[in-house]
Protein backbone atom coordinates (compact mmCIF):
# COMPACT_ATOMS: atom_id res chain seq x y z
CA UNK A 1 0.00 0.00 0.00
CA UNK A 2 2.79 2.34 0.92
CA UNK A 3 4.58 1.67 -2.34
CA UNK A 4 1.34 2.32 -4.23
CA UNK A 5 0.86 5.65 -2.46
CA UNK A 6 4.47 6.63 -2.96
CA UNK A 7 4.16 5.75 -6.64
CA UNK A 8 1.12 8.04 -6.84
CA UNK A 9 3.09 10.79 -5.14
CA UNK A 10 5.95 10.37 -7.61
CA UNK A 11 3.48 10.43 -10.52
CA UNK A 12 1.95 13.66 -9.26
CA UNK A 13 5.34 15.27 -8.71
CA UNK A 14 6.74 14.17 -12.09
CA UNK A 15 3.73 15.39 -14.05
CA UNK A 16 3.55 18.61 -12.03
CA UNK A 17 7.15 19.19 -13.12
CA UNK A 18 6.21 18.43 -16.73
CA UNK A 19 3.29 20.86 -16.62
CA UNK A 20 5.55 23.49 -15.12
CA UNK A 21 8.38 23.25 -17.63
CA UNK A 22 6.90 21.97 -20.91
CA UNK A 23 6.30 25.11 -22.97
CA UNK A 24 4.55 25.09 -26.33
CA UNK A 25 1.82 22.48 -26.18
CA UNK A 26 1.27 18.76 -25.96
CA UNK A 27 4.27 17.45 -27.86
CA UNK A 28 6.58 19.47 -25.62
CA UNK A 29 5.77 16.92 -22.90
CA UNK A 30 7.43 14.07 -24.84
CA UNK A 31 11.01 14.65 -23.62
CA UNK A 32 9.70 14.63 -20.04
CA UNK A 33 7.88 11.35 -20.61
CA UNK A 34 11.08 9.86 -22.03
CA UNK A 35 13.02 10.99 -18.92
CA UNK A 36 10.39 9.43 -16.68
CA UNK A 37 10.56 6.18 -18.60
CA UNK A 38 14.31 6.09 -18.21
CA UNK A 39 14.36 7.10 -14.54
CA UNK A 40 11.65 4.77 -13.22
CA UNK A 41 11.43 2.08 -15.89
CA UNK A 42 7.76 2.95 -16.43
CA UNK A 43 7.73 2.73 -20.19
CA UNK A 44 9.93 1.68 -23.09
CA UNK A 45 10.65 3.68 -26.26
CA UNK A 46 8.12 1.54 -28.15
CA UNK A 47 5.44 2.21 -25.54
CA UNK A 48 6.26 5.90 -25.72
CA UNK A 49 5.73 5.87 -29.49
CA UNK A 50 2.37 4.12 -28.97
CA UNK A 51 1.33 6.64 -26.36
CA UNK A 52 2.12 9.56 -28.65
CA UNK A 53 0.18 7.97 -31.53
CA UNK A 54 -2.86 7.31 -29.34
CA UNK A 55 -2.69 10.72 -27.65
CA UNK A 56 -2.58 12.45 -31.03
CA UNK A 57 -5.46 10.54 -32.57
CA UNK A 58 -7.97 10.49 -29.71
CA UNK A 59 -10.06 13.45 -28.60
CA UNK A 60 -8.55 15.78 -26.02
CA UNK A 61 -5.35 17.73 -25.53
CA UNK A 62 -2.29 15.62 -26.47
CA UNK A 63 -0.45 16.30 -23.20
CA UNK A 64 -3.49 15.37 -21.12
CA UNK A 65 -4.01 12.14 -23.08
CA UNK A 66 -0.36 11.16 -22.69
CA UNK A 67 -0.39 11.87 -18.93
CA UNK A 68 -3.57 9.80 -18.46
CA UNK A 69 -2.07 6.89 -20.38
CA UNK A 70 1.25 6.85 -18.51
CA UNK A 71 -0.55 7.26 -15.17
CA UNK A 72 -2.79 4.31 -16.00
CA UNK A 73 0.18 2.13 -16.96
CA UNK A 74 1.90 2.88 -13.65
CA UNK A 75 -0.96 2.90 -11.12
CA UNK A 76 -4.24 2.06 -12.84
CA UNK A 77 -7.19 4.45 -12.69
CA UNK A 78 -5.96 6.39 -9.61
CA UNK A 79 -2.65 6.86 -11.41
CA UNK A 80 -4.39 8.14 -14.55
CA UNK A 81 -6.31 10.75 -12.54
CA UNK A 82 -3.36 11.80 -10.36
CA UNK A 83 -0.97 12.17 -13.32
CA UNK A 84 -3.46 14.31 -15.25
CA UNK A 85 -4.28 16.53 -12.27
CA UNK A 86 -0.54 16.90 -11.68
CA UNK A 87 -0.04 18.01 -15.28
CA UNK A 88 -2.75 20.69 -15.29
CA UNK A 89 -2.22 22.13 -11.79
CA UNK A 90 0.76 24.38 -12.69
CA UNK A 91 -1.12 25.67 -15.78
CA UNK A 92 -4.14 26.66 -13.75
CA UNK A 93 -2.03 28.43 -11.11
CA UNK A 94 0.19 30.28 -13.60
CA UNK A 95 -2.64 31.33 -15.92
CA UNK A 96 -4.82 32.53 -13.03
CA UNK A 97 -1.95 34.77 -11.91
CA UNK A 98 -1.43 36.08 -15.45
CA UNK A 99 -5.18 36.56 -15.99
CA UNK A 100 -5.31 38.61 -12.77
CA UNK A 101 -2.47 40.82 -13.95
CA UNK A 102 -3.95 41.22 -17.44
CA UNK A 103 -7.37 42.09 -16.03
CA UNK A 104 -5.79 44.87 -14.02
CA UNK A 105 -3.68 46.32 -16.81
CA UNK A 106 -5.57 45.22 -19.96
CA UNK A 107 -6.62 48.73 -20.90
CA UNK A 108 -3.28 50.32 -20.13
CA UNK A 109 -1.48 51.85 -23.09
CA UNK A 110 1.59 49.60 -22.96
CA UNK A 111 -0.32 46.31 -22.59
CA UNK A 112 -2.56 47.31 -25.49
CA UNK A 113 0.42 48.09 -27.72
CA UNK A 114 1.99 44.80 -26.63
CA UNK A 115 -1.09 42.85 -27.69
CA UNK A 116 -1.39 44.83 -30.91
CA UNK A 117 1.92 43.32 -32.02
CA UNK A 118 1.26 39.96 -30.39
CA UNK A 119 -2.05 39.29 -32.17
CA UNK A 120 -0.76 39.06 -35.76
CA UNK A 121 2.24 37.03 -34.56
CA UNK A 122 -0.06 34.64 -32.68
CA UNK A 123 -2.18 34.24 -35.82
CA UNK A 124 1.02 33.48 -37.72
CA UNK A 125 1.79 30.75 -35.16
CA UNK A 126 -1.71 29.29 -35.43
CA UNK A 127 -1.47 29.34 -39.22
CA UNK A 128 1.86 27.50 -39.00
CA UNK A 129 0.39 24.85 -36.69
CA UNK A 130 -2.66 24.42 -38.92
CA UNK A 131 -0.39 24.23 -41.97
CA UNK A 132 1.73 21.49 -40.47
CA UNK A 133 -1.38 19.55 -39.40
CA UNK A 134 -2.70 19.85 -42.95
CA UNK A 135 0.59 18.66 -44.44
CA UNK A 136 0.57 15.62 -42.12
CA UNK A 137 -3.07 14.88 -42.94
CA UNK A 138 -2.40 15.04 -46.67
CA UNK A 139 0.71 12.91 -46.36
CA UNK A 140 3.01 15.68 -47.55
CA UNK A 141 6.54 15.59 -46.24
CA UNK A 142 7.72 19.16 -45.75
CA UNK A 143 11.42 19.73 -45.35
CA UNK A 144 12.71 23.30 -45.44
CA UNK A 145 10.08 24.31 -47.98
CA UNK A 146 10.87 21.34 -50.21
CA UNK A 147 7.56 19.55 -50.35
CA UNK A 148 7.34 16.01 -51.55
CA UNK A 149 3.74 15.34 -52.47
CA UNK A 150 3.10 11.86 -53.71
CA UNK A 151 0.35 12.53 -56.23
CA UNK A 152 -1.32 9.17 -55.85
CA UNK A 153 -5.05 8.69 -55.92
CA UNK A 154 -5.46 8.81 -52.12
CA UNK A 155 -3.54 12.01 -51.57
CA UNK A 156 -5.52 13.75 -54.30
CA UNK A 157 -8.74 12.40 -52.81
CA UNK A 158 -7.74 13.76 -49.40
CA UNK A 159 -6.88 17.13 -50.93
CA UNK A 160 -10.29 17.15 -52.62
CA UNK A 161 -12.11 16.34 -49.38
CA UNK A 162 -10.18 19.05 -47.54
CA UNK A 163 -11.07 21.48 -50.32
CA UNK A 164 -14.73 20.55 -50.13
CA UNK A 165 -14.85 20.94 -46.33
CA UNK A 166 -13.04 24.26 -46.59
CA UNK A 167 -15.57 25.48 -49.14
CA UNK A 168 -18.44 24.56 -46.80
CA UNK A 169 -16.68 26.18 -43.83
CA UNK A 170 -16.50 29.45 -45.78
CA UNK A 171 -19.79 29.34 -47.69
CA UNK A 172 -22.31 31.61 -45.95
CA UNK A 173 -25.13 29.06 -46.07
CA UNK A 174 -23.10 26.30 -44.37
CA UNK A 175 -20.59 28.29 -42.29
CA UNK A 176 -22.97 28.41 -39.33
CA UNK A 177 -23.18 24.62 -39.02
CA UNK A 178 -21.64 23.47 -35.74
CA UNK A 179 -18.05 22.11 -36.00
CA UNK A 180 -19.33 18.84 -34.49
CA UNK A 181 -21.13 18.02 -37.74
CA UNK A 182 -18.02 18.65 -39.79
CA UNK A 183 -16.09 16.32 -37.47
CA UNK A 184 -18.75 13.59 -37.69
CA UNK A 185 -18.98 13.96 -41.47
CA UNK A 186 -15.20 13.75 -41.71
CA UNK A 187 -15.16 10.55 -39.67
CA UNK A 188 -17.94 9.01 -41.78
CA UNK A 189 -16.23 9.93 -45.04
CA UNK A 190 -12.93 8.57 -43.73
CA UNK A 191 -14.54 5.25 -42.77
CA UNK A 192 -16.45 4.87 -46.04
CA UNK A 193 -13.55 5.77 -48.30
CA UNK A 194 -10.88 4.01 -46.18
CA UNK A 195 -8.68 7.09 -46.12
Amino acid sequence: MLTFLSKLAILFFEFFKTGLFAVGGGLATVPFLRDMGAAYGWLSEAELANIIAIAESTPGPIGVNAATYVGYLVCGIPGAVVATIGLVTPSVIIIVLIAKAIKKYYNSYLVQSLFKALRPAAIGLITAAGFSLLMTSLGVKANFLRFTFSADWYSLLKLGIYGLFTFFAFWKKTAKIHPLFYILAGGAIGAVLSL
Binding site: P61, T68, L110, K116, F131
Partner: protein, 177 residues
Amino acid sequence: MGLWKLYLMFLKIGSLMIGGGYSMLPLLIRELVERNKIITEDELTDYMAVAQCTPGVIAINTATFVGYKVRRVVGAIVASLGVITVPIVLIILIAAVLKGLSQYPIVGHIFAGVRLAVCALITASVYKLFRKSVTNVTSFALFLLAFVFVTVGGVSPVFIVLGAAIVGLAWGGLKKC
Protein backbone atom coordinates in the same frame (compact mmCIF):
# COMPACT_ATOMS: atom_id res chain seq x y z
CA MET B 1 -22.94 32.13 -16.99
CA GLY B 2 -23.38 29.36 -14.42
CA LEU B 3 -20.60 27.02 -13.39
CA TRP B 4 -22.45 23.95 -14.66
CA LYS B 5 -22.94 25.51 -18.10
CA LEU B 6 -19.27 26.53 -18.15
CA TYR B 7 -18.28 22.96 -17.28
CA LEU B 8 -20.50 21.44 -19.98
CA MET B 9 -19.20 23.87 -22.58
CA PHE B 10 -15.60 22.89 -21.95
CA LEU B 11 -16.58 19.23 -21.68
CA LYS B 12 -17.88 19.55 -25.23
CA ILE B 13 -14.75 21.35 -26.40
CA GLY B 14 -12.44 18.81 -24.71
CA SER B 15 -14.21 15.86 -26.25
CA LEU B 16 -14.35 17.27 -29.77
CA MET B 17 -10.78 18.50 -30.14
CA ILE B 18 -8.47 16.06 -31.87
CA GLY B 19 -4.80 16.66 -32.58
CA GLY B 20 -3.66 19.25 -30.07
CA GLY B 21 -4.31 22.75 -28.87
CA TYR B 22 -5.27 24.47 -32.11
CA SER B 23 -7.94 22.00 -33.07
CA MET B 24 -10.02 23.64 -30.34
CA LEU B 25 -9.91 27.00 -32.14
CA PRO B 26 -13.01 26.51 -34.35
CA LEU B 27 -14.92 25.21 -31.31
CA LEU B 28 -13.82 28.14 -29.17
CA ILE B 29 -14.86 30.67 -31.79
CA ARG B 30 -18.25 29.00 -32.20
CA GLU B 31 -19.04 28.42 -28.52
CA LEU B 32 -17.38 31.36 -26.76
CA VAL B 33 -17.34 34.17 -29.32
CA GLU B 34 -20.36 33.57 -31.54
CA ARG B 35 -22.87 31.60 -29.50
CA ASN B 36 -22.38 32.65 -25.87
CA LYS B 37 -20.49 35.93 -26.48
CA ILE B 38 -18.30 35.46 -23.41
CA ILE B 39 -15.18 36.85 -25.06
CA THR B 40 -14.32 38.73 -28.26
CA GLU B 41 -12.18 37.44 -31.13
CA ASP B 42 -9.39 39.78 -30.00
CA GLU B 43 -9.47 38.41 -26.46
CA LEU B 44 -9.36 34.85 -27.78
CA THR B 45 -6.29 35.66 -29.87
CA ASP B 46 -4.64 37.28 -26.84
CA TYR B 47 -5.38 34.26 -24.66
CA MET B 48 -3.99 31.86 -27.22
CA ALA B 49 -0.85 33.95 -27.61
CA VAL B 50 -0.22 33.87 -23.87
CA ALA B 51 -1.23 30.19 -23.62
CA GLN B 52 1.37 29.44 -26.26
CA CYS B 53 4.33 30.89 -24.40
CA THR B 54 3.43 29.90 -20.86
CA PRO B 55 4.19 26.40 -19.55
CA GLY B 56 1.64 23.64 -19.81
CA VAL B 57 -0.93 22.30 -22.22
CA ILE B 58 -2.27 25.04 -24.52
CA ALA B 59 -5.88 23.85 -24.26
CA ILE B 60 -5.77 23.93 -20.45
CA ASN B 61 -4.15 27.35 -20.44
CA THR B 62 -6.84 28.74 -22.74
CA ALA B 63 -9.65 27.11 -20.74
CA THR B 64 -8.23 28.53 -17.52
CA PHE B 65 -8.15 32.03 -19.05
CA VAL B 66 -11.76 31.85 -20.20
CA GLY B 67 -12.93 30.23 -16.96
CA TYR B 68 -11.23 32.96 -14.96
CA LYS B 69 -12.92 35.64 -17.01
CA VAL B 70 -16.35 34.07 -16.36
CA ARG B 71 -16.11 33.04 -12.71
CA ARG B 72 -12.64 33.88 -11.36
CA VAL B 73 -10.58 31.09 -9.76
CA VAL B 74 -13.49 28.65 -9.40
CA GLY B 75 -14.37 29.18 -13.06
CA ALA B 76 -10.74 28.58 -14.05
CA ILE B 77 -10.71 25.23 -12.24
CA VAL B 78 -14.13 24.18 -13.51
CA ALA B 79 -13.27 24.99 -17.14
CA SER B 80 -10.02 23.02 -16.93
CA LEU B 81 -11.79 20.04 -15.34
CA GLY B 82 -14.31 20.20 -18.18
CA VAL B 83 -11.54 19.90 -20.77
CA ILE B 84 -9.92 16.86 -19.15
CA THR B 85 -13.00 14.83 -18.12
CA VAL B 86 -13.77 13.03 -21.39
CA PRO B 87 -10.13 12.49 -22.43
CA ILE B 88 -9.36 10.85 -19.05
CA VAL B 89 -12.28 8.43 -19.39
CA LEU B 90 -11.54 7.70 -23.05
CA ILE B 91 -7.83 7.08 -22.56
CA ILE B 92 -8.45 4.84 -19.54
CA LEU B 93 -10.89 2.82 -21.67
CA ILE B 94 -8.40 2.59 -24.50
CA ALA B 95 -5.56 1.64 -22.18
CA ALA B 96 -7.65 -0.88 -20.25
CA VAL B 97 -10.04 -2.54 -22.67
CA LEU B 98 -9.21 -1.61 -26.20
CA LYS B 99 -5.46 -1.81 -26.03
CA GLY B 100 -5.27 -2.70 -29.69
CA LEU B 101 -7.78 -0.06 -30.81
CA SER B 102 -5.24 1.68 -32.98
CA GLN B 103 -4.53 -1.62 -34.73
CA TYR B 104 -7.96 -1.72 -36.38
CA PRO B 105 -7.57 -0.03 -39.78
CA ILE B 106 -11.07 1.49 -39.61
CA VAL B 107 -10.06 3.60 -36.59
CA GLY B 108 -7.21 5.08 -38.56
CA HIS B 109 -9.51 5.78 -41.52
CA ILE B 110 -12.06 7.54 -39.33
CA PHE B 111 -9.44 9.77 -37.76
CA ALA B 112 -7.87 10.53 -41.15
CA GLY B 113 -11.25 11.86 -42.27
CA VAL B 114 -11.80 13.76 -39.03
CA ARG B 115 -8.42 15.41 -39.39
CA LEU B 116 -9.27 16.73 -42.87
CA ALA B 117 -12.50 18.24 -41.51
CA VAL B 118 -10.57 19.77 -38.60
CA CYS B 119 -8.02 21.27 -41.01
CA ALA B 120 -10.82 22.87 -43.02
CA LEU B 121 -12.38 24.29 -39.85
CA ILE B 122 -9.02 25.66 -38.72
CA THR B 123 -8.54 27.29 -42.14
CA ALA B 124 -11.85 29.13 -41.81
CA SER B 125 -11.15 30.10 -38.17
CA VAL B 126 -7.69 31.41 -38.95
CA TYR B 127 -9.18 33.49 -41.77
CA LYS B 128 -11.69 35.03 -39.35
CA LEU B 129 -8.94 36.02 -36.90
CA PHE B 130 -6.67 37.16 -39.74
CA ARG B 131 -9.26 39.54 -41.17
CA LYS B 132 -9.79 41.03 -37.72
CA SER B 133 -6.21 41.59 -36.59
CA VAL B 134 -4.05 41.77 -39.71
CA THR B 135 -5.11 45.13 -41.04
CA ASN B 136 -1.99 46.96 -42.18
CA VAL B 137 1.54 46.41 -43.46
CA THR B 138 3.11 46.20 -39.98
CA SER B 139 0.70 43.56 -38.74
CA PHE B 140 1.04 41.59 -41.98
CA ALA B 141 4.83 41.65 -41.60
CA LEU B 142 4.54 40.32 -38.04
CA PHE B 143 2.13 37.60 -39.20
CA LEU B 144 4.41 36.55 -42.05
CA LEU B 145 7.57 36.61 -39.93
CA ALA B 146 5.97 34.41 -37.27
CA PHE B 147 4.70 31.93 -39.87
CA VAL B 148 8.02 31.72 -41.73
CA PHE B 149 10.17 31.49 -38.59
CA VAL B 150 8.14 28.53 -37.31
CA THR B 151 7.55 26.72 -40.58
CA VAL B 152 10.94 27.16 -42.22
CA GLY B 153 13.25 28.02 -39.37
CA GLY B 154 11.78 25.72 -36.74
CA VAL B 155 12.03 28.52 -34.16
CA SER B 156 10.23 27.83 -30.86
CA PRO B 157 6.91 29.70 -30.59
CA VAL B 158 8.06 30.95 -27.18
CA PHE B 159 10.69 33.17 -28.79
CA ILE B 160 8.25 34.44 -31.38
CA VAL B 161 5.68 35.45 -28.78
CA LEU B 162 8.35 37.09 -26.63
CA GLY B 163 9.85 38.82 -29.69
CA ALA B 164 6.48 40.17 -30.80
CA ALA B 165 5.76 41.36 -27.26
CA ILE B 166 9.05 43.27 -27.19
CA VAL B 167 8.34 44.79 -30.62
CA GLY B 168 4.90 45.89 -29.40
CA LEU B 169 6.26 47.43 -26.21
CA ALA B 170 9.10 49.20 -28.02
CA TRP B 171 6.75 50.51 -30.73
CA GLY B 172 4.25 51.76 -28.18
CA GLY B 173 7.00 53.29 -26.05
CA LEU B 174 8.60 55.09 -29.01
CA LYS B 175 5.28 56.46 -30.21
CA LYS B 176 4.63 58.02 -26.84
CA CYS B 177 8.07 59.65 -26.62
